[in-house]
Each structure stands twice: as structure tokens, then as C-alpha cells.
Symmetry: C2
Subunit: 483 residues, 2 copies
């Protein structure tokens, strides 16, 4: 911007000082700055990296189709913001999970053939097959699945979601979480706790025994606990948890404790003496609330996905081999890319990148309802993980906000004077700005079943969002606008 | 500050521009500012309001006596910062509280004659006398105490501390909290919960029945709970609680939940079927951890008070009529002033200032160990109370820091990038800067026993600190320095 001035009725006088607003690449600004010129940099990048098809899709979805899209997005956001799913029961999967056959095993992420399963997910499936009584050893289990004697299906296709490498057989107990407003229900397994358990890629005898215990003791007793009182409003607890330093994905200490506090009278009143085992399990499992949050997020996003024409992401999941997203507007279709590595990782003991399996699990769904990375700014524990200072955690939330369409009205960030967490991941913004969600996640042993070896951040592949926007733009009703 | 410059070998050239640093009253700066002069204000007040005796005491304690004082203060701060009191048992007061006679009732704050007891404290004493079986009605109880048939003594003189209007009889169960490093033990009653109970100034039949229940059920079962596992490190839980939004005085939700989580397996394993009553009580009592924090703070400050020659406050308590502080250097002496009103108050329902009893209770001791107001910046709930924004809570902590000598090494404030809470309230600083601790507190009904009517901030009377510094300066070893 040059400070030109005109003397009345005369020629333009060159300014003595020139200031420059530099839009885009900082190198231009730096060149001017080197000549002593005052420069203000404005971040700007060519939208969608300048890809012609993507720019065309964006032009359409921000242009002629915008009214349709915005109306749909408002609907989706309202559902994401208002759904209040309640934990009502714990039942064997076969009794409640829709379409769950007697020989079905559910797995996380997009559909995947057995020969493409990564090692921790294979091991988890072995443990589940053995726990179901279909095989006596990991080798027998692998052979059985290899022969096609077990149906493998994505949990996401059965109103369920599974963290990390969890697999789910028909006898496994599931959390039943009802979204009354939407009239739909979602399911998640019991969180198995930290340790070398199947959900973290273990298939030892101990890991199988833990599945037996969850089925015989934890499931029935938790169901009785639920029956002896009101249902648990999952997001009401999550909202309090966010005020107490939980992001509800990586850190769940406060929400798990709130849940235990709420259930305490019922747990103590259980008649079965094995309640002491359940109490020890709950008292030691800092992650127990994780799977409740996942089930609630699944119930919420499934409801939101019923709205057509929206550009808001309603599904995000990884199977350890591929990463996929889904939108209500594009139905059951997955937009997939290879599972990314987990970056910015901290490893336990002597473990290192060579031991790390790729990003895995359905827990990324939490990021779609205003929690996880969206709530990082609320979490001192996440701050300790992403750089050490609260400002580092705030930066994560602010990055998420750049690609979200709204703010949560219930999850409030104290650190930001109680503004809501970002909500409604918009594929248009992701593709335009080339900012992808960073998902905080555990890292599993890639080859030897030694469980969790570290934790870090996985970046959702941009490619998934690019595929999605092209698909959106190619279909009704957007095509009609273009015509 | 004038930008003078000298031309070589010539006279002083007057500067074209003058900037001014204004020390003290802002009005001088404003006058200059009005003339277009650049002014930087520096906050400065006449120390101790210019009082000659106080200035002399400060001059001595910051001057000749400083080496002695600083060495002592370091010792005191180390004890305040490092004591790790553990909850080990719950016993009837008569069995454990030192010097507790069979007809003794302990009360909060400095010593106080019965005819000076405020209404809520009188009612609490009635309830305790009835619960002990010494009288059948409030009137009988009042007559008994009025005749001198009951010994009234400050809890602080018996290694105990009592929140709000709690009174303690010999049969009442007390939390036993041991400070192993110091070899001393402190006691606090069980927190009675919110409701119209004796500690909030009620003397109804229901209030007395609650004392019976605490004695018959909660006390013995909690003692059994403690016996069935490790002692509870109170400040370890408090430190986690501060990371989760507790200030550990006004807000104790996270720490209470952490405690419940830790005790869950033992609570569930209790043989007595009345464990369900205890569980309901704990599940509904958001303040349960308060009295543990008070006992731990008492054990800590009692140990710190054994160090001579320090200017750090080691006792702060209110009986509803007077407010008093104590220092190790001045032994058992109380420095007292009339109990202040509670300001910045929020009242329940139709209650208002006319219903408010003055500031009361021993809980102010929490403010002496780096918690309460010192930890306000960590607490979104406190922020909601002191102005609504986290910056309001941060301001409270920063105010406390101005009159404290150190920072806690274990209570860290996420909002301030994990710096420690202010620790070590120095009477020198309080008197010099005339900044007194603001104590967050409940407000009791002044006349009718209707329990808690509101909450607000009470300002410790400056007079207490002024008396203390004069007493300090008058005694050995400071007198020696002056000689």
C-alpha cells in the first residue's frame, strides 16, 4: 500500500515512504524487508493448491450450490451440537448390534480384506476368535479367518465404533448408547484398559482371558449397574470433563472419575461379590470413558449423516491400513487413502519409529463432535504432549477452528474464556486451506504384539477430503446448480 | 526521563521530546498526559500507609534482621512446600485429638467466650451438645454451655481445624492426617456435605441426626476403608486436582472424584451393608475433600510454625466474631480483628446482605499452603465466581503472589504455563503493600439457622498483620539487631 497524495490540480507526488502488504509467499515480503521497506504479511495460499478440478468443485460448492450446502450444514451442525446420547445398557453384541451375524467379527475403519490387516489388528482378531471359542490358538484363528469361515465387517457399517485395534465378536459386551432425539442407537465395546490387551494388538492367553473376564464379569455387572438408576448422559459428563482438563480423546481422567462418582452408589450396591473385581478395573482404567465417548459420537454422527447435501464430515476412521472419511451426502461411500504414520511421537522405553504400526482405530470420530483436537486448548495434559505450554494446545484448537463451520454450544474452553470448541469439519475448508485434522492417538507395536509402544499425532490424509469434494460436486443436487 | 544529548564540547541541548516516568499517584501522570507528554505510570504507594511504627518495623525486618528472617523464611517455605501429610484413619475425636476432654467442644478461629458466639456457631454448638447426649434441645444445650458445664476451646489449639461453623465434640469422628516428615498429626471433622447441617449453622433434629449418622456409619466405615489399603497422600491428590480445575478451597470436585476413584475398590469391598449409605453420601458431597485439605494444611502449617524467627504466616482462622492470624515466631499468640463481612457476594434465592453472618471458619488455612486464592488461576469454576473470565481468576492469583515469598513446587497452574502457585504469605509484604489475602468462603444465615445463604470473598483485616509485624519487631532476635 503506497501513501500517495495529490497536490490540488497537479501531478501525482511520489510518497516518501512506501509500505507493502504482502499477500501469499513470505519470500516476496522478505525481499522488500531487506530493502528497508515496511511489510505486513498476510497468509494466503492458492486455494486447493491450484488443482483445477478441486478449484472448480470449490467454486461450485462455495458458489451456486452454497445456499443448499449452507442449509444442510446448519442442520448437520445442529444435530452434532444438540444430540444427547445416553448410556442405557451393556449387552452382548449379538443381542443388540444390527446385522451382527453369529460368525461376524467387526473391525475398525473402512472395509478391509484379511490379507491387508496390519499385525496388531490381526492379533486382535485372533484373540476375539479364540474368545468366541472358534479356535484354540492364534494360528488356528488365522487359518479359520483365512479360509473365509468368519465374516469380517467394518463396525461403522453396524452402528458401532471401535478404538485402536479393537475387534468385536458376537459374545462381546457392548455399551448401548441411545440418541433419543434421533431415534438411533450406537454401540462400542468396553474399554479394555491399558496393558497388553487385544485392543492394543495382543493375542496372548492373558489377552484372551481378559476378554473372557469382560464378558463374564464386567459386562453383566455394568449392565446391572445401569439398570439400577438413570441412564448416563454421556456428553453432559464430557462437557464437565472439558472444564476439568479432558480433551475426551487423549485425556479422559476427569470424565472417567465423574462417571465413577455418579455410579458409586450403584456399584457399591451390587449383590455379586465380583463387584470388587469390577471396582478394581474401573479404578485403574483412566480410559474407561473413551469408549462411551466413541459410542456417543457414533450415535451423534450417524444421526447427522441422515441429512443430505452437507459438506460436513460425519465419519472418520482408520483400520491400520487405510484411512477413510464419510459424509451423509455421499452415503455409504468411503473416501480412502493409505493410513498415515503417527508423527510427533513419544515412544515408551526403547521403542522407536521402527516399531510403530500406522494410525488405527475408529476413535477419530470423537474429533467430529467438538472434542479431541477441538478441545485441546482445554487440556493441560494435551499441552504437555503437544509442546509443553498451554499456548501449544490452544494453537491446536485454533487450527481445527480454521476448517470447522461452527462452535459447540456445550463444550466450552476455559483457557479461551469459555468459547465453544470448533465443530463441523467442512471438507470445503479442508480442501481449500489444505489443513487436515491432526488426531492424537496411541501407537501400537507393528510386528510383535507388545501393545502400545508410544503416542503421537496422525494427520488425516488430504487425499480423502479431495476425493470427497470431487464426489460431492459431481452428484445431485450440486450438478443441478451447475447445469 | 528526558532525552538530553550533548553536542561535543558544547552546552546541553534541550531535547525535542520529553517522556516521563510517573511514580505513584496516577493524577500527576494524567496532568502531563493532558499536555501531550508520553508518560509511563509505575505503581508505587507509600509503604505501610506511612505509619511511623510500621515503617520502623519494616525497616528493621527488611534491614538489620533480614538475614535472620530470610533464613527462617526459607525453612518455613521448605516445610510448607514439602510436607506430604497422609490420611491414615478416622477415629472418634476423644481417642486421638490431644487435650480433648470428655466435656470439650472445639470451635473454629481464635478463642472466644460463649456470649460472643455468632448465631450459626451457637447453633452448631447446640447440635454438637445434643449429639453428645448432654442435652435434649437447643435451649437446654445453650443453658448447659452458658453455665460453663462445657469447655469451649479453639480447634487450632488442639492440632485440629474446622471449616465454617463446625464444632466438634469428643464422640465425633475425625480425619487423622499424619505428617511423617514433621512427626506431627492434624485432625479435621468429616465434611458434612451441603444442606442445613450443623457446620452451616443448623441445630434442627435433622441436623443432629446427621451428626449421629456420621458417627455411627460414615466414621467407622471410612476408617475400615482406610485400613484396607495404603494411606492417602492428600497433597498428591490436591496437585492433580489443581490440574483439573480445583482451587481446593471453593472448588473440590476433581479432588473429591480422584479420592473416590482411589477408594472405589475398598468401598465396594466393605462388608457392612450400610456401605450403600456411605456411597450415596460420598457421591453427593462435592466438598468431601475440603476437610482433608484442611487437615493436611493444619499438619503442614503446625510443622512450619515450629521454625522460629520467620515472617511467614502459619495460622489464619475466623470464629465468626473475630479474625486471627498466628506466626511460628510469636508462638500461641493470636493477632485479631473483628471478623470482616463477606464482600462480592452472590446470594441464593431471596437472601441478601441482611441475612449474612460475618466470615467464619478455619478453612483459610488452605490459603497458607499454596491453594485456595493462590490457585484461583487454575480454576474455571472460581473464574465464574470472581468475574467470569479466566483472566479474573489469574488476577487473583497474581495479587496473592505480590504478598508471598515463593512458589509451590507441586501445585502448578496450567493457565500460567505451569508456574507454581504463590506460597508463603509474608507479613512484611502484606503490611508494606497493604494487600491482604482475599478468602473465598460461604456465607451463613446470620440469625435463623437456614444454613448457607450465599458465597463471596472475605478480606483478611490488615490490622491483624500490622499487629503481627509490630510484635515481631519487638521481640528477639530482631531486638538484638536493633540494639
Amino acid at each position: 500500500m503506497s501513501d500517495t497524495s495529490r497536490e490540488p490540480g497537479s501531478r501525482v507526488v511520489l510518497p516518501e515512504q512506501v509500505s507493502v502488504v504482502n499477500v501469499g509467499l513470505p519470500m516476496f515480503g522478505e525481499a522488500l524487508r531487506a530493502q528497508g521497506v515496511r511489510v505486513v504479511d498476510v497468509a494466503w495460499r492458492i486455494p486447493a493448491g491450484g488443482d483445477e478440478a478441486l478449484v472448480q468443485a470449490l467454486t461450485q460448492l462455495y458458489g451456486p450450490a452454497a445456499a443448499t450446502v449452507e442449509a444442510a450444514n446448519q442442520q448437520v451442525i445442529r444435530r452434532l451440537d444438540e444430540a444427547a446420547p445416553a448410556w442405557v445398557a451393556v449387552r452382548p453384541a449379538r443381542e443388540v448390534v444390527p446385522g451382527m451375524g453369529e460368525r461376524t467379527i467387526l473391525h475398525p475403519g473402512p472395509p478391509l480384506a484379511w490379507d491387508r490387516f496390519c499385525d496388531p489388528l490381526r492379533r486382535s482378531a485372533h484373540a476375539t476368535v479364540i474368545a468366541e471359542g472358534w479356535a484354540a490358538s492364534p494360528d488356528e484363528a488365522a487359518a479359520l479367518i483365512g479360509r473365509g469361515d468368519v465374516e469380517l465387517a467394518p463396525a461403522n457399517h453396524h452402528s458401532a465404533a471401535l478404538p485402536m485395534a479393537t475387534t468385536l465378536g458376537p459374545s462381546a459386551p457392548v455399551l448401548v448408547v441411545q440418541n433419543e432425539q434421533g431415534g438411533n442407537t450406537a454401540y462400542a465395546p468396553l474399554n479394555q484398559g491399558s496393558g497388553r490387551w487385544p485392543w492394543l494388538g495382543a493375542d496372548t492367553n492373558e489377552a484372551v482371558a481378559h476378554l473372557h473376564w469382560l464378558r463374564a464379569v464386567a459386562g453383566p455387572l455394568l449392565n446391572e449397574t445401569l439398570r439400577n438408576g438413570d441412564p448416563i448422559d454421556v456428553f453432559a459428563i464430557a462437557a464437565q470433563g472439558v472444564q476439568m482438563g479432558d480433551d475426551i480423546h487423549m485425556r479422559l481422567q476427569a470424565s472417567t472419575n465423574l462417571l465413577i462418582r455418579a455410579l458409586l452408589p450403584r456399584l457399591v450396591a451390587l449383590g455379586d461379590s465380583r463387584r470388587t473385581e469390577l471396582a478394581r478395573f474401573l479404578s485403574e482404567n483412566y480410559l474407561f470413558f473413551l469408549n462411551l465417548a466413541i459410542a456417543a459420537a457414533k450415535a451423534t454422527t450417524d444421526w447427522a449423516a441422515q441429512v443430505p447435501d452437507s459438506t460436513i464430515v460425519t465419519g472418520m476412521a482408520r483400520n491400520g491400513t487405510t484411512f477413510g472419511i464419510r459424509l451423509g451426502a455421499t452415503g455409504d461411500r468411503w473416501f480412502e487413502a493409505p493410513a498415515p504414520p503417527v508423527e510427533d511421537a513419544l515412544y515408551r522405553g526403547d521403542f522407536g519409529p521402527a516399531d510403530a504400526a500406522p494410525d488405527i482405530g475408529d476413535s477419530a470420530i470423537i474429533e467430529l463432535v467438538g472434542l479431541g483436537g477441538a478441545a485441546a486448548a482445554a487440556s493441560p495434559a494435551v499441552a504437555g504432549f503437544v509442546g509443553g505450554r498451554m499456548s501449544d494446545a490452544v494453537a491446536r484448537t485454533q487450527e481445527v477452528a480454521r476448517v470447522c463451520a461452527a462452535r459447540s454450544s456445550r463444550f466450552k474452553i476455559p483457557q479461551l474464556d469459555f468459547t465453544g470448541t470448533p465443530l463441523g469439519l467442512d471438507v470445503r475448508k479442508v480442501v481449500e486451506l489444505e489443513i487436515v485434522p491432526a488426531i492424537t492417538t496411541g501407537i501400537l507395536d507393528a510386528t510383535d504384539g507388545r501393545g502400545q509402544v508410544g503416542a503421537g499425532l496422525a494427520r488425516a490424509p488430504l487425499e480423502c477430503f479431495q476425493q470427497a469434494i470431487l464426489a460431492l460436486s459431481a452428484q445431485h443436487p450440486y450438478r443441478d446448480h451447475r447445469a
